[in-house]
């Protein structure tokens, strides 16, 4: 009797021991789904595709480092959806993603209109969304929307302060494209200028996608400005920068964010870009972690990783951090963990200032933009002093 008991219990132990790894792997194999919503087609396709590449890279990095350890090494599973640069599609795709796959969180969508819609859907579905989109509306009355990077109003302040870098009495001409991105940012400029001691001598919206920058630059010349702030998308910027050269206008150009901080800008205007200043919510020289990401991204695409794409890699790590602390894939628990995020090291803290902590309105209390300058085909952080990684070139 005893021997049989012993043998059966021994056999049981052996069997259990043999099966154990399979059981545990089965538990660990439950991947965590996160959604990535970007405009891979349509007018913002270039940017959207770059974002998707970065999103996939980020997930690989998290998984190669062991995944979510508190969930048994569960891997992140990125589900990408193309929002086609279209508002209706964003609405339906966000919905489809949430109802079709059990998502723990979402990140996206680059453009403010698209992000606002995705945020609305997420708020109602109670799924956390994290985004680099700078529109201030994202921090009004929401509980599931998190914005770890600088807000539109902060960009404006930074741009104004940078104007004083190139001259003592900056007389700034502000031109901006007349849709959401341009009007939001430029409004901040108008409000904050007096406080920063900057005189705005021209404040003019222009038709996005115009055929000729000549009349506009004419006006800039007539205004007697010595600095030009242009809040524009890429195609307009190309025209503006070239026309300024043609007119022979001597102004310090600060191109803000948007089309200014992507590799394509340099590809299209070449040397004209060198020395031009801009503002970004993330840059690849923010810290060593960012440079590592940049190196890997460059290997895959041949270009440096631009502002939004790099930011979303950090966001992926913030999500991983939240999942780690929540020890659950449940969106509500992830949301609560995200709200308590306090990162100051590692990839999750890749941000100007190196710290991320969310306030009650989803804003990062340490969030601020970084001033950048084109130098030899690359973007170098030059402002504020704590974030400068290179010298400011005087032109």
């Amino acid at each position: 009797m005893k021997r049989r008991q012993f043998l059966s219990s021994a056999a049981g132990t052996v069997v259990a021991g043999a099966l154990a790894p399979y059981v545990m792997r089965g538990y660990a194999a439950d991947a965590v789904n996160i959604g990535g919503l970007y405009p891979s087609t349509g007018s913002m396709a270039q940017i959207g595709q770059a974002c998707v590449t970065a999103a996939k890279l980020a997930v690989e990095m998290v998984n190669n480092a062991g995944g979510i350890k508190s969930l048994g090494g569960a891997k992140l599973n990125l589900i990408v959806s193309d929002v086609q640069s279209d508002t209706t599609v964003t609405r339906t795709e966000t919905d489809r993603l949430i109802s079709g796959s059990k998502l723990s969180a979402i990140h996206g969508c680059y453009a403010s209109a698209l992000t606002l819609i995705a945020s609305e859907v997420c708020e109602r579905a109670k799924v956390p969304i994290i985004t680099g989109s700078s529109t201030d509306q994202l921090n009004k009355g929401r509980h599931y929307t998190f914005t770890p990077f600088a807000r539109a109003s902060q960009f404006a302040k930074a741009q104004l302060q940078m104007a004083k870098l190139v001259g003592d009495k900056p007389r700034v001409a502000v031109i901006f494209e007349n849709t959401a991105f341009g009007t939001a940012t430029s409004n901040g400029l108008k409000e904050l200028a007096p406080g920063e001691g900057v005189e705005i001598v021209m404040f003019e919206p222009y038709s996005a996608g115009f055929t000729d920058a000549g009349p506009l630059i004419n006006k800039v010349k007539a205004s007697g400005a010595n600095a030009l702030f242009s809040v524009s998308y890429l195609n307009d910027l190309i025209l503006i920068v070239r026309t300024v050269k043609q007119v022979g206008l001597d102004v310090a150009i600060n191109g803000g964010s948007g089309g200014f901080v992507i590799p394509d800008f340099y590809k299209n205007v070449g040397r004209l870009a060198d020395g031009l200043l801009g503002v970004a919510h993330w840059n690849h020289d923010v810290n060593d972690a960012a440079q590592k990401v940049n190196a890997e991204y460059k290997k895959r695409t041949g270009e440096f990783i631009f502002e939004y794409a790099g930011g979303l890699v950090a966001q992926t790590f913030m999500l991983a951090d939240a999942l780690e602390r929540a020890a659950s894939a449940d969106p509500q628990k992830v949301r609560d963990a995200l709200a308590k995020l306090d990162a100051s090291s590692g990839y999750a803290a890749m941000a100007p200032g190196g710290k991320v902590k969310f306030g009650p309105d989803g804003k990062n209390v340490y969030g601020h933009p970084v001033g950048v300058q084109w130098q030899n085909g690359d973007l170098v952080s030059v402002f504020p002093k704590e974030d400068a990684r290179g010298k400011l070139l005087k032109t």
């Binding site: 891979s40 087609t41 349509g42 396709a45 193309d82 086609q84 508002t87 209706t88 964003t90 609405r91 339906t92 919905d95 489809r96 109802s99 079709g100 403010s112 209109a113 606002l116 819609i117 945020s119 609305e120 859907v121 708020e123 109602r124 529109t135 509306q137 009355g141 007349n178 849709t179 959401a180 341009g182 009007t183 939001a184 919206p205």
Partner: protein
């Protein structure tokens, strides 16, 4: 009796449309259905002016946008329910159609079309500038009221489906009624030959004006629904040219000047689009390329649209059977 049979068929169709969403499980499919019904509604509204009266407008987005903005402004600034806002939007669009019509109806054919495009574009540009009054280029989201049927916000998709289905049925009923009325006769007459219609004593300017007002009213209601559905409004979305395009497109493919043309056209185009998207995925441009090839094929080989083709088939069968 042929008429009795038609009633049965219509009844069956309506019943089908009523229960369809209950059988559909995926939210994505429901989205497609809602989209189909919405554009069938917009197309039916357009069809009154563009199909029957052959006044080919590509500026209906003007009314869509006006409807969307009216109800949103009333909701956010005055706290008034979008249900009322929807009707108010319709009235606003009707009023707008008067000066726009006065301007554009002075022309015919492609002149008229280009003028309507211009009018709609001007409205978008105006709303892009209205920063203090209507949020300008940045637009706004509608307040998150959760489940608030009285404010046209619902939990889940099903209620949205029934709302837009109701709108479509109303538009179809109106179209059917008009088609059989004297107004309908006038519309078709002026669509065939405006000068001849005038010669026979039809008050062409008045007929055009009246049908334009009706078409505008209905289109505006679609605008309100749309904002409530995607939770967001801005000038580029509300006054988007693609809305004007699709309104006319579905009618052409389905058959202009027919009752069910727009609905059939929408069904074909939207399901083709959805299928293409799932087969070919999202590589830039592939989907719309195939879409436009199909479109061109329809235009080249069956310019009277699907309903036109069906009518021809029926006519041929009738002739073959020797019935006059």
């Amino acid at each position: 009796m042929r008429i009795g049979r038609r009633r049965v068929v219509v009844g069956a169709l309506i019943a089908l449309m009523l229960v369809l969403p209950l059988a559909v499980k995926s939210a994505f499919a429901l989205d497609i259905l809602i989209r189909i019904l919405l554009f069938a509604f917009i197309g039916t509204a357009w069809n009154l002016l563009g199909g029957y009266a052959k006044q080919f407008s590509l500026g209906h987005s003007a009314f869509f946008g006006l409807g969307a903005y009216t109800s949103t402004l009333m909701q956010i600034d005055l706290g008034i329910s979008p249900w009322i806002g929807m009707l108010a939007g319709g009235v606003a669009a009707m009023l707008a159609s008067l000066p726009i019509g006065w301007l554009c109806f002075r022309l015919r054919g492609p002149y008229f079309t280009i003028a309507t495009i211009a009018a709609a574009q001007v409205l978008m540009l105006i709303f892009l500038k209205l920063r203090d009054f209507a949020w300008g280029a940045e637009g706004t989201t509608i307040p998150n009221l959760g489940d608030a049927p009285l404010m046209m916000q619902f939990d889940g998709k099903l209620p949205y489906y029934y709302v837009v289905l109701l709108l479509l049925l109303v538009a179809l009923a109106i179209t059917a009624w008009i088609a059989r009325s004297r107004l309908g006769f006038y519309l078709v007459a002026l669509g065939e030959d405006q000068d001849a219609a005038e010669a026979v004593g039809i008050d062409v300017p008045r007929v055009k004006r009246d049908i334009y007002m009706l078409s505008a009213f209905l289109t505006a209601m679609a605008g309100t629904f749309y904002v409530q559905y995607i939770y967001f409004i801005d000038p580029q979305t509300a006054f988007n040219f693609s809305i004007s395009i699709e309104a006319a497109l579905v009618s052409i493919v389905g058959g202009v000047g027919t009752l069910l043309g727009p609905l059939i056209g929408t069904l074909l185009l939207e399901t083709t689009s959805a299928l293409l998207q799932s087969w070919l995925g999202n590589q830039a441009g592939v989907q719309v390329t195939v879409y436009s090839v199909i479109l061109m094929a329809v235009i080249l080989w069956r310019p009277t649209g699907i309903m036109g083709y069906l009518a021809e088939v029926r006519e041929r069968r009738r002739l073959r059977q020797g019935i006059a």
